[in-house]
């Protein structure tokens, strides 16, 4: 395992201390600021692309005194350059975004030291998905890392499974065969028969696909109480769009998993940290229903900024989400997303992705034109 070259000991120790804080206890601003500024200075030193980006904005370690002024790199930049403090050859992991967009170049997140990723992932997953602290049987609807070596999601599930899964935990999907419906159904039937609590993990889209198939076959299960699922991401623009409420109703109907135990995860290839729905933790640990929200772990700050000016919006307004994630120590801690969200008490809500502009003008839409050009030149 590689280590981050000349990372100050105090910074490394400070990050590890942050990762072990109780999930609802954000770092006090002064502490977060000290760590963020130290990380910023170290990243500028080891990441010439990022330093150039900061210099162009006149905001460098020499001038920035508060973490909120650290220049945030748009996720699009990860499609152009390796924004890391080490080359991909020396890195522990290189994660790539899925290659579904019209543009061939995929986003690349170089993770020089996977240790920081794991040390932040585990407490967050523990608190939000398995807060009871007991190992659980986990079934994945995402193919394993040997099939998807550059998928951060597959890696994340593998890490969670290794740490929190019982020996019965399994991968029920492969790149070649997709979801193994028959085997998964048998496993769920067994779990029901044995009264074994299970945790299902997958993308929202994989769950839609799978539950559609279950409905077609007339199958449904009533998984033992305490069973849960974690689905991640949206699925807009895919073959079928399903609203969150409809999906939750389906989970209850076909799997017997109540909405409190359906934890949606919001994460991205470019960020080491994840954000989970508070619903399960609210139900199991706090034992009261809180507002619908994604919980920001102690080592992250999430701001909502105006899409045009990229300045913070007034409280309660919609805007683009910007994350300052100390777990991104090996690349860039400040990341500007194209996800529209809103801050709420104790976290934030994701409202969608800022793509698909409203109908305007009579000029041809970029995607249509790219599509047409691709069709003709291929």
């Amino acid at each position: 395992m590689s280590e981050l070259h000349d990372l100050p000991d105090t910074l490394g120790a400070g990050l590890d201390a942050a990762f072990t804080r109780p999930i609802e206890h954000p770092l006090p601003d002064a502490e977060f600021n000290a760590l963020a500024l130290a990380a910023f200075a170290w990243q500028c030193k080891h990441n010439r692309h990022y330093m150039a980006f900061c210099e162009r904005r006149g905001r460098t370690p020499a001038t920035v005194t508060h973490w909120s002024d650290i220049p945030a790199v748009p996720t699009a930049a990860f499609r152009e350059v390796e924004l890391a403090c080490a080359s991909s050859g020396e890195a522990d992991a290189v994660f790539r975004t899925s290659g579904t967009t019209a543009d061939a170049r995929r986003g690349t997140h170089v993770v020089p030291d996977i240790g920081f990723y794991h040390r932040s992932l585990i407490p967050n997953f523990a608190a939000m998905v398995v807060p009871e602290g007991r190992p659980m049987t986990m079934y994945s609807l995402v193919p394993p890392p040997r099939d998807l070596p550059d998928s951060s999601l597959s890696h994340m599930i593998a890490t969670a499974m290794q740490r929190f899964g019982t020996r019965d935990s399994r991968w029920y999907a492969s790149v070649a065969g997709g979801i193994d419906h028959d085997a998964l159904v048998r496993a769920l039937a067994d779990a029901c028969a044995d009264g074994m609590v299970v945790c299902l993990l997958g993308t929202s889209f994989s769950f839609v696909h799978w539950t559609d198939a279950m409905r077609e076959r007339g199958e449904h299960h009533r998984l033992p109480d305490g069973s849960r699922l974690m689905d991640t991401g949206g699925f807009k623009g895919r073959s079928r769009e399903v609203g969150r409420d409809e999906l939750r109703a389906t989970y209850l109907e076909l799997l017997g998993i109540p909405p409190t135990h359906c934890v949606n995860e919001y994460g991205m290839t470019e960020l080491c940290s994840q954000f989970y729905d508070a619903s399960l933790r609210d139900a199991v640990i706090r034992r009261r229903r809180g507002p619908d929200r994604k919980v920001v772990p102690p080592w992250v700050r999430t701001d909502v900024v105006d899409p045009t000016t990229l300045e913070p919006v007034p409280a309660g307004c919609e805007g683009l989400l910007r994350h300052t994630d100390l777990a991104n120590i090996g690349s860039v801690i400040a990341v500007q997303t194209e996800d529209v969200g809103i801050a709420v008490d104790g976290g934030f809500r994701v409202l969608g992705r800022a793509t698909g502009a409203r109908p305007r003008g009579c000029s041809i839409a970029m995607d249509d034109l790219l599509e047409a050009v691709k069709r003709r030149t291929s």
Binding site: P74, E80, P307, T355, G356, P359, R360
Partner: protein, 471 residues
Amino acid sequence: MSDDEPIDAFHLPGLEEADVERWEIREYGPAPVRLRFPVLHARALTRIADRIADAGGAIRSMGSGDIVAFIDSAARRLADVDDPLRRTAEAALPAITGYSAPMIRLVLDRVTRDWTAPALLELLDREIPQGALERFVPERGTANRMLAVGPRLTLHIGSGNVPGVTVTSIVRSLLVRSPALVKTAAAEPLLAVLFARALESVSPDLGDALAVVHWPGGQSTVEDEAIAAADTIIVYGGAGTVQSVRRRAHAHTRVIEHGPRASVGLVGRDALATNREARAVATRVAWAVAVFDQQGCVSPHVVWVETSVAGADTFAALLGEALDAVEAELPRGSLDAAEAAAIHDVRARAEFRAMDGGAVRLFEGHGAAWTVIRDQDPAFEPSCLNRTVRLKPIDRLEDVAELIAPLRGFIQTVAVEGAGDRLDRLVHALAAAGATRITDFRRMPWPPPAWHHDGAGPLRELVSWIDLETE
């Protein structure tokens, strides 16, 4: 608009209470501007369509001169800044369309000019032999006579937010004496209604031959009825809309499509001979980019510049200065999150690409006002719009024809300046590559009223000819 009363965004002669299933109010902008729309029963649409088609008799008994005069009077109302209809347009359209108030004023001034008598007479003169809409006229070179007849009922399906596009379409069908049933675009459902009111105020007969209303596009039964009622359909919109209309129209219904198009520009070395000339061209390019915030089919996505990389950088800087100057006079409109994110995305990618080797260089205005990317890759690349343009240095202007040829059917206007004596050869190459309009940057955003819109005569494509054979 502080008025509590919403603006009625429809013009429906003879509308009865029973025609309306329910009323819908839509709000636009922060103020907000409120528009009221009727949700019609399908059978009501059929009745209204029949009624305006019947009103065609009154138009057909008018002389062309009268029709022109009435349209001209209506246009002058919308051009007159003191007229209440114009005031409503100026007050409401910025919130509805997202364009800035100065942009709306400029567009209203320009488009209404296209509907005044001199422009209409020129259009008629260019398109239809004198008098042929009113009586049989001799056909050149034969003893026969011929009469031009407009559609019994033309359905216009609007699209996009550029004000005036739908009205121009209506004007064309009225000129050929065809009643117009108009489905307004969701993104700009007002100006056609205001035009109908202006027209009704000067000629109740013409007002009766015009119905303007909005309904949600797609498979609605109202739209099916409208498609069934018309014998000619002019549809603006994307490929999906056009296909859907074609599929539902009767085999004998004429469907004229104005799908989305993209435009480009060429700056030849002659235009860069002196700094002064280059600056003047840059200003014209900046206006062509800025008008309609680049969302028009006539707006340039890419400008090829016949110069070196360093020369292109110099020109990009001039273009940036010019775009700054335009922004002061004609501010860019509001952006939604997706549009703003697209601009920041394009900028970030250019910025980081510039760090590795410099094949691109980013020039940007304050906020998201404008973006110029000098890019050595000569290939066409669509813009995310809202004043985001790529400048591509090229060795020879002649090479551009080959670069746009794969986009045949999508490329509309090509602005060319500084080609010198190569212009003649160049325009043939561009025409062969699929361009349907070649002009300069100054005229680029404002095609003349009589232009061959996407390659066809705007009145000629509407009329049918009746032959009278004589000895």
